[in-house]
């Protein structure tokens, strides 16, 4: 029954996909050629070709306006065939752009992790620190990460590092709050066990509190990663140069919507994989009581 459920769900998904692509196809099928009054005569055909509306243009790889699904597939195949080429600052493969974005996210995220988890531990274990730091957290948390951009650009004076800083500042809060919450919520019984066994503070932190709070911490890490991946695209649109966000903006300036759609899909897929990674991690540390 369970297998058949997932089978049916999969079938439904495929059906929905076909439906969506079908709608897409139908709404873009009225291509510029067929959509305009039929042209006749050699002069008109020549004129049409000049205007980019000739019969050759429809099949051309360069697509203007919203692409049909088929045109999109051509573009996607082209992009995937050579993802790592580098033809100067304005023409790099999507693989390279993606790697830039992932690198920034990874760096900013790891720094945030290194700060948030130990600090969260301290906040979670000390009511004093919790109360002292709470106002800061409450004020800083709701600030849009992009609002930091001018300050970061001015003080850091490097657009790429500023991007990393923005990722850092946006991914630190969920991790910090969840770690503090998880650490503060460790069952008193378990702490009492550690106390009656005279467990050293370090051992208590790593062998009792950390595993007990791990599911909550990983949840925070997962949320942070999601936010970081959302923010990097926007940040790269601002700072420019490299990255998938920049790629999207660049292709918009080129009016190449097929490339934009391709990049958008890619962003979604990468985000999904990142999330799946954390889901796996979460499964590993989750315990049943």
């Amino acid at each position: 029954m369970k297998a058949s459920l997932s089978l049916r769900a999969g079938l439904l998904s495929v059906l929905l996909l076909i439906l969506l692509v079908g709608i897409w196809h139908l709404s873009t099928a009225t291509s510029p050629v067929s959509g305009r009054p039929a042209v006749s005569g050699a002069v008109d055909a020549e004129y049409a070709a000049l205007m980019g509306n000739g019969p050759a243009a429809a099949t051309d790889k360069k697509v203007d306006g919203f692409p049909t699904p088929l045109q999109f597939l051509h573009v996607a195949a082209d992009k995937l065939a050579d993802p790592f080429y580098d033809h100067g600052p304005n023409d790099k493969g999507v693989g390279i752009q993606l790697a830039h974005s992932l690198g920034r996210v990874a760096l900013g995220y790891l720094i945030a992790l290194a700060v948030a988890v130990p600090l969260g531990f301290v906040i979670g274990m000390s009511p004093l620190m919790y109360r002292a730091l709470d106002p800061f957290i409450q004020v800083l948390k709701p600030i849009s990460p992009l609002a930091w951009m001018p300050i970061a650009l001015y003080t850091i004076k490097d657009s790429s590092v500023s991007g990393i800083f923005v990722i850092f500042i946006c991914s630190i809060w969920p991790m910090l709050i969840n770690t503090a919450f998880g650490v503060a919520g460790v069952r008193k019984d378990w702490l009492n066990v550690a106390r009656t066994l005279e467990v050293s503070p370090l051992r208590k932190a790593f062998q009792v509190i950390l595993p007990a709070a791990a599911p909550t911490i990983i949840t925070g890490m997962r949320i942070s990663m999601g936010i970081a991946w959302l923010v990097i695209v926007a940040a790269e649109m601002l700072i420019g140069g490299t990255g998938i966000g920049y790629f999207v903006w660049n292709e918009w300036n080129n009016l190449s919507l097929a490339n934009v759609i391709f990049a958008v899909l890619l962003i979604g897929l990468v985000g999904m994989f990142l999330d799946l990674m954390f889901a796996q991690l979460q499964k590993k540390v989750t315990y049943a009581e």
Partner: protein
């Protein structure tokens, strides 16, 4: 106590406070300054190898007393001395079996025990710790479940692991807070037998909270009866005069069993309340009566019990 002759009235608890293994003196706990203390002036002694059960209604501070003994909580007044040293803070010398078993759910049974063993013997090798842990898992009959996580065990099995964990650090005193409270009657009986056997083998000193009168009679050498709170105190100490080799199957054939049982039940349903209602004459607070209802011929169940019990009491200052 265990090796002393049973039923001997001279083996009283009266004078033992001076030489006892654990001495509790004038213990009191007050949570709020504007309210009367939960309990006050609680004093008793426990001998080495003795099994003590403490009975009382909810809210009389039994758990607090146990937590103070464990060092997990601090009393507002009085002190606890174990082995000639004052108890301050938790220690490996006082093992605790928690009512909620409190096993670490991300560790298997053997890892849970090994965690405790490593805390006691920090210098031991991994194999030695594993072997030591295995011995105590065997002791509670859970060798087949050693690799399981607590969530895969039944309530009774979890509590056995909790007991094995407490025993594995070989504490000088074992503290149990209603360890079988959440178990069904059958499982409870099995584990009681196991506990009795292990305690007999290891001569473990035990201080246990229970609500179960039968359990107390089966396990305890002496039963502390607490009056109701606030301002609760240990009103009586019932000496279990039944032979030490009692077992659950035959215990109810002993005429002493019902005398002790009636005495305990009578205390719980009537006198625990009246002692509290009688107020707190300061002179009486320090008084704990020591009784041996098992040796009395008069059945307690008649209406005269109040009068007859009074005549049996020996007041001890």
């Amino acid at each position: 106590m265990r090796n002393k002759e049973n039923g001997n009235p001279k083996v009283g608890a009266a004078g033992k406070a001076a030489s006892a293994f654990v001495k509790v003196e004038g213990l009191g706990k007050r949570y709020r300054a504007d309210q009367p203390p939960v309990f006050d002036n609680v004093s008793f002694g426990i001998d080495k190898g003795e099994f003590i059960c403490i009975i009382g209604h909810s809210g009389c501070g039994k758990s607090t007393i146990l937590n103070v003994l464990a060092g997990l909580e601090e009393a507002s007044s009085g002190c606890v001395i174990m082995d000639n040293r004052e108890v301050s803070g938790p220690s490996l010398d006082r093992g605790v079996v928690f009512q909620s078993h409190a096993l670490l759910p991300w560790l298997t049974v053997e890892e849970n025990i090994a965690f405790a063993v490593r805390s006691r013997h920090t210098d031991w090798s991994r194999q030695r710790i594993a072997a030591h842990a295995a011995r105590f898992i065997e002791m509670v009959g859970l060798a087949h479940a050693a690799k399981k996580k607590p969530s895969e065990l039944s309530g009774g099995m979890k509590q056995r692991v909790g007991i094995a964990r407490a025993f594995s650090v070989e504490p000088k005193m074992l503290l149990m807070d209603e360890p079988f409270g959440a178990l069904d009657a059958l499982t409870r009986g099995v584990i009681q037998d196991e506990l009795l056997r292990i305690c007999t083998e290891t001569h473990q000193t035990v201080f246990m909270i229970t609500h179960d009168v039968d359990e107390a009679i089966l396990l305890a050498d002496r039963i502390f009866l607490m009056s109701n709170g606030p301002q609760a105190r240990i009103a009586e100490i019932v000496v279990n005069t039944m032979p030490r080799d009692r077992v659950r199957e035959t215990i109810h054939h002993d005429p002493q069993f019902y005398r002790i049982r009636n005495h305990l039940v009578d205390f719980l349903v009537r006198r625990s309340k009246s002692i509290q209602q009688a107020g707190s004459p300061v002179a009486e607070l320090a008084t704990t009566r020591i009784v041996r209802p098992g040796l009395e011929e008069t059945p307690l169940s008649d209406g005269l019990c109040e009068a007859t019990t009074n005549s049996r009491f020996t007041a001890v200052a």
